[in-house]
């Protein structure tokens, strides 16, 4: 009986004292930040944050990270609850929707006052973050889509590297040749909606969406049909991983690409992801980055895009401190030495120059690749319309890609249904 009482008293003391211990944390300013990414990005970003906290002892940066899909689920729920972090990583495909709903804060004031210093940043690098003439997101790196080639596999198969302006026909031959020579796939599945969006740049100087976002932007379904007929041929021959196999493997992030495990000799991804891919593959591997193949006689299907932004939300409690952190994140050489261009080629010329001498193999190849793309590309198109996610999740994936790749319906039939449904959704925005 007595012992119980003593224990109870001890327990209540602990309960009463504990909260006061954490009071010491109160003189710190808390800045919340949230991003999506792969493990490689998480590690680098956390290390950068720890450095910032060391340099600014009065700042406590509370971070959350997740995969792409969960990022949007989590943050839109937080938005509804008024619980958004101060800084959130944002994307070109979504920023318009978030600005339209008043969830992001214009950063023009911070740019003018110099809190976010843009002295060494070109206007073109910043332009992607503008919505309706105001700045809502600071570009964290320049990016472009890429076909990465495993040069060792090409050598082993006795296949010569193609010219930089290779065509889809050349690509198809190479993929099949690799499959025949090495018994591995040429490449993983190529059914990404990104490729659909830029598909019409190569042939027709068009984009998946019309400029006003109220309908599809391409007139002729034939190039899309031809492309999917090629994918069906490649799936059949083994030149490309079968769609079925990619479904069975599930979405395990960029580090799970077939090129990493040497189950394919090529990979399609965003240029910044080469850092994660190369790290996962091992330093001893040799990769070279190529633009997206183009149609016969067509032009570049590549465009340069802000890989992602840091935006300050309209629910931020410490917008000033958040802006100071973003400035440091973008402009500090120290920070970018840790980040190692994993989010794309840094936009600050000072940072780029400082990184150049010590670039790792992956980063050097990425810098070089972006240089190539800068010489020959198609102009970036307007940010995706607000209904983009609806079109992709409910029409493009389940009604177009899947039934076509499983051979349930013909590409012709699927393309016309895609047009009909996408136009209905886009028109109803």
């Amino acid at each position: 009986m007595n012992r119980t009482r003593v224990l109870l008293i001890l327990f209540s003391i602990v309960v009463l004292v504990l909260p006061s211990l954490s009071l010491t944390a109160q003189d710190m300013t808390e800045v919340r930040i949230s991003w999506w990414g792969s493990q490689n990005r998480h590690d680098r970003t956390i290390a950068t944050i720890e450095l910032y906290e060391e340099l600014n002892p009065d700042i406590d940066i509370v971070y959350e990270f997740q995969g792409w899909r969960d990022h949007w689920t989590k943050l839109s729920t937080q938005a509804a609850g008024g619980e958004l972090p101060d800084i959130m990583q944002h994307d070109y495909a979504r920023i318009e929707e978030w600005v339209a709903n008043g969830l992001l804060m214009p950063l023009d004031g911070y740019l003018e006052s110099g809190v976010i210093d843009t002295m060494n940043i070109s206007d073109s690098s910043l332009a992607g973050g503008m919505v309706d003439g105001q700045m809502y997101g600071i570009n964290l790196g320049n990016n472009s889509e890429v076909f990465t080639l495993d040069t060792d596999a090409f050598a082993a198969a006795g296949i010569e590297l193609p010219p930089l302006d290779w065509t889809w026909t050349q690509f198809e031959d190479i993929a099949n040749a690799i499959n025949e020579a090495l018994g591995i796939h040429g490449i993983g599945v190529l059914t990404s909606d990104q490729l659909w969006k830029s598909q019409y740049m190569g042939c027709c100087d068009q984009w998946a969406y019309a400029a006003d976002g109220m309908s599809l932007g391409y007139e002729d379904d034939q190039p899309l049909i031809d492309y999917y007929n090629m994918l069906l041929r490649l799936q059949e021959s083994g030149g490309m991983q079968s769609y079925e196999d990619s479904v069975a493997r599930g979405d395990q992030g960029v580090e799970a690409q077939l090129i990493v495990t040497q189950e394919a000799a090529m990979a399609y991804h965003w240029s910044n992801q080469i850092v994660a891919v190369w790290t996962a593959s091992g330093e001893d591997r040799n990769f070279v980055m190529y633009p997206i193949p183009r149609p016969e006689g067509g032009q570049s299907q590549n465009y340069i895009k802000p890989s992602m932004f840091f935006s300050i939300t309209s629910q931020a409690e410490q917008p000033d401190e958040a802006a100071a952190f973003i400035d440091w994140f973008v402009n500090s050489v120290e920070a970018n030495e840790i980040l190692a261009a994993e989010r794309g080629v840094p936009i600050s010329s000072v940072v780029r120059e400082a990184l150049l001498p010590n670039l790792g193999a992956a980063q050097a190849e990425m810098f070089n690749y972006l240089g190539i793309i800068e010489m020959d590309n198609s102009p970036i198109r307007p940010a995706d319309p607000a209904a983009h996610a609806d079109v992709i999740n409910n029409v493009f994936g389940p009604e177009f890609v899947e039934p076509v790749m499983y051979g349930m319906i013909s590409p012709e039939e699927a393309a016309s249904y895609l047009r009909e449904e996408a136009n209905r959704i886009l028109g109803a925005q």
């Binding site: 839109s76 938005a79 509804a80 079925e244 479904v247 069975a248 979405d251 899947e402």
Partner: protein, 310 residues
């Protein structure tokens, strides 16, 4: 005599009514508060939302009457695929799970040494039931180079791509459900132990074989338990989510796009909380009607020992 104690008991209960209640409410207070805050209020709000086009990101929505239901039933192809997948899952997984549960319960209803260990071992999968870990493990087992195909390979059979084929993907989830038979099994076990031994003994004397004993004694005596398990499993079957969310993501071709997963997608990935609420309420109604139907039917097949006793 019996009547006298009964009235006495009643009177005493009455006199302490207020105080008893207060203590009772105090005890369930925390639960009640949480129930109202986190269950009752959100459910009520979702009923209101189901008549709006409330969007999470915009944090606003207009009253649109029955439009959500109209859209769901007549315009949304994926909705019907999700209904299809869910019904298929329930129709196969619930009976399978109950049969497994009963079979294992009967095996474990003996007095051998170490039977307790087996009971715990068979129950374990259910404790970790809807968990991410199990779902991830299932991916590995049924993956291309997984355990199942490896075993088939040893037998000289080339296994199909279980998770990638539209015909097989849902079966991996149905098998997963059957494997998680632990909680109905425990309830069956308790039910089996309640069947009076003398029934079996007299049947044996009359020369009934084991099949007859099972059909004429065990099954009828267990019907109240079967009834209970059936209802619980039906309800949880319709609400299946985690397995598809982790193992298949609703793919391929929406064959594993379970209802709850589709609701989640619409609500949290598409931000269409109004539409998702409407879908959720339709599901609630369907489950309610089905449960009522099973309850109604119970008078035809559920056998209560007590009925004959009095």
């Amino acid at each position: 005599m019996a009547a006298a104690t009964l009235t006495k008991g009643k009177r005493r209960r009455k006199s302490n009514f207020g105080q008893d209640n207060l203590v009772g409410y105090l005890f369930i207070g925390p639960w009640l508060i949480a129930f109202f805050l986190f269950t009752f209020i959100p459910i009520s709000v979702s009923l209101l939302l189901s008549f709006t086009d409330y969007n999470v990101l915009a944090n606003s929505g207009d009253f649109i009457g029955l439009d959500n239901f109209q859209r769901m039933f007549f315009e949304d192809r994926r909705y019907w695929r999700s209904v299809n997948a869910t019904v298929k899952y329930v129709v196969f997984s619930v009976p399978l799970r109950l049969v497994f549960a009963l079979a294992v319960a009967m095996l474990l209803n003996t007095y051998r040494r170490g039977v307790g260990v087996y009971r715990a071992a068979f129950y374990a999968p259910s404790i970790i039931g809807g968990s991410i870990a199990v779902a991830v493990m299932w991916r590995e087992i049924f993956g291309n180079d997984g355990l199942v195909n490896f075993t088939l390979n040893l037998l000289g059979i080339e296994g199909p791509n279980w998770l990638g084929r539209p015909e097989t993907a849902i079966w991996t989830l149905i098998i997963l459900a059957a494997w998680q038979f632990g909680s109905p099994m425990l309830i069956f076990l308790a039910g089996l132990k309640n069947i009076p031994k003398h029934l079996y003994e007299s049947a044996e004397i009359d020369g009934a074989n084991s099949l007859q004993r099972f059909l004429r004694i065990t099954l009828p005596m267990l019907t109240p338990i079967i009834f209970f398990n059936l209802i619980m499993q039906l309800i949880s079957g319709f609400m299946v989510f985690t397995q598809a969310f982790i193992v298949t993501q609703g793919r391929p071709l929406d064959t594993t796009l379970f209802y709850a997963l589709y609701v989640y997608r619409r609500a949290f990935e598409q931000n269409e909380m109004g539409y998702a609420s409407a879908m959720a309420w339709v599901m609630l109604m369907v489950i309610a009607v089905l449960t009522a139907f099973v309850f109604r039917s119970s008078s035809y097949w559920v056998h209560y020992e007590a009925d004959e006793g009095t």
